[in-house]
Amino acid sequence: MNNVNYIGQTLKNLFSKPATVKYPFEPREFPERTRGHVENDMDVCILCGLCQMRCPTGAITVDKKGQTWAIRPFSCIQCRSCVDNCPKKSLSMGQQYQEPGTEKIEKKFDLSDKQKEALAEQARIAVEKAAAAKAAMEAKKKAEAEAAAKATEAAGSTADVKG
């Protein structure tokens, strides 16, 4: 009776609960590492553009002038390369899968006001620093030139004495 040895399993399957999750009535529980979609924390991003450079599909566009960060979710392959390469850890991988759509959209995010101010402040400090450095450099150059002039003068006078 070899052809009945599976009946036990069949009956068990008939009377047990479905093996599938009743989606969408029951949400799916994702493991912690699931790569669903990319999220960016616009409070932390510094628009450095590294993610754009390291994205193999070119899904990310960083606009430094307009201060926006944009992703085309239908081009993203959830490879996690951008997340691994973000220097500020502002990118993270969300677990829920990308939502479907009828159009291949681009999602654009503005930098948060706080971060905009912070970046402006940083830029101002950088400009000031650069200006200060430039001034210091010029002063140094001037001093050196003066010292050199003095030295030649002194050398000239000693030569006079000797002559």
């Binding site: 994702f30 790569r35 991988m93």
Partner: protein, 359 residues
């Protein structure tokens, strides 16, 4: 003599979601000739090596096929690592072995289900795929993806898999082993299943050697050959025997695959026990220059990866010889003289992966 007729099989056929087309020349119910044609899903992935840098190419290699994705990524990384003389750490090798065997498990379980579907045993099909889901859950927990793992990189693995997570897989493996035993028993002992598999698609050991077959198809005809014995990754340190069957028919191939799932479980257990601590990634500097060919054992058979690099960040050539490509001549051989009702079984028997074959 009865008149001949030609029946097209595929590229869209209920038994196989993948696009292979066969022109079956029939005499009554008997197939006298089968002419395969492929080329429906060619995507030009090999030529992408000249446009993507060699590290980004890992993602492309993984996407050659959904089922053997880990193997493709591994074969590519292994070839590039050989060119660049990179020594992958022990831990990365062990973790790669574990992930590789898990993908072998899910591929073989998938195949068992497809086979059950091909001979019309639906409840067996559903049950095997229910079990497969547990393997996919483990893979998702470890890598974050169900079939595309994105964890491999030239130089090792991009993320470590913590030891406690590895340990948490052990009870799941026990469960899978227990549940699978029931299904395997049905596959190997059920008289209805046997009547559809035994004696179908007979190819002797000499024939499979001559036709250049590989993988479980080859071992199902009694040839003891498995590229894992070459000792790449951590297979050198792991104890396993090559599984063969002397049946030389579809039943023998089913036997080999069913036993290999159980063998994979044992390999994973050994690897989890032995996995050493340490880093999983070594730094990679510079660009590859030179060429290398790697052979690995994919779930479907031996695959070869040839990589040629010229010292820039773009490679010059990549070529993949996939197992299905090697097994298609054997498929046309077995189809000759079979009955029309056996065609789906014979096509599934080589575990065809057309996406791999065409790339």
């Amino acid at each position: 003599m009865s008149s001949r007729s030609v029946i097209p099989f595929g590229p869209q056929h209920p038994v196989l979601p993948e696009p292979i087309h066969l022109d079956l020349v029939l005499e009554d119910e008997k197939v006298v000739e089968a002419v395969p044609s492929i080329g429906f899903v060619h995507r030009g992935l090999e030529s992408l090596v000249t446009k993507k840098d060699f590290k980004e190419m890992v993602y492309v290699a993984e996407r050659i096929c959904g089922i053997c994705s880990f193997g493709h990524g591994f074969g590519y990384c292994d070839a590039v690592e050989h060119i660049m003389d990179i020594e992958v750490t022990e831990r990365a090798n062990y973790l790669r072995t574990i992930l590789f065997e898990m993908s072998r498990m899910h591929s073989h379980i998938l195949w068992l289900g497809l086979m059950a579907d091909a001979f019309g045993f639906e409840s067996l099909f559903m049950d095997t795929w229910r079990i497969r889901e547990k393997v996919l859950d483990m893979l998702e927990a470890a890598t974050g993806g169900r079939v595309i793992f994105s964890i491999l990189d030239v130089g090792g693995l991009r993320r470590d898999i913590p030891d406690d997570m590895l340990k948490s897989f052990l009870p799941v493996l026990d469960e899978i082993e227990k549940e699978l035993a029931i299904d395997v028993k049905a596959f190997l002992n059920d008289s209805a299943v046997k009547s559809r598999l035994c004696g179908v698609g007979f190819l002797s050991a000499e024939q499979v050697e001559k036709l250049g077959c590989c993988g479980p198809f080859l071992r199902g005809s009694g040839v003891k050959r498995d590229s894992r014995k070459l000792g790449y990754a951590a297979y050198d340190d792991i104890d396993f025997e090559i599984i063969t069957s002397d049946d030389c028919d579809t039943y023998g191939r089913t036997f080999v695959r069913a036993q290999e799932i159980l063998q994979s479980i044992s390999i994973i257990r050994q690897a989890i026990e032995k996995v050493p601590a340490g880093e999983v990634m070594v730094p990679v500097k510079g660009f590859p220059k030179g060429e290398h060919m790697t052979r690995i054992e994919q779930p479907r058979g031996e695959a070869c990866y040839y990589v040629k690099a010229n010292g820039t960040k773009f490679l010059e050539r990549m070529r993949v010889r996939t197992p299905t490509f090697a097994n298609i001549p054997a498929l046309t051989e077995t189809l000759q003289g079979c009955s029309l009702s056996d065609v789906p079984i014979l096509v599934v028997a080589i575990d065809p992966c057309i996406s791999c074959t065409e790339r």
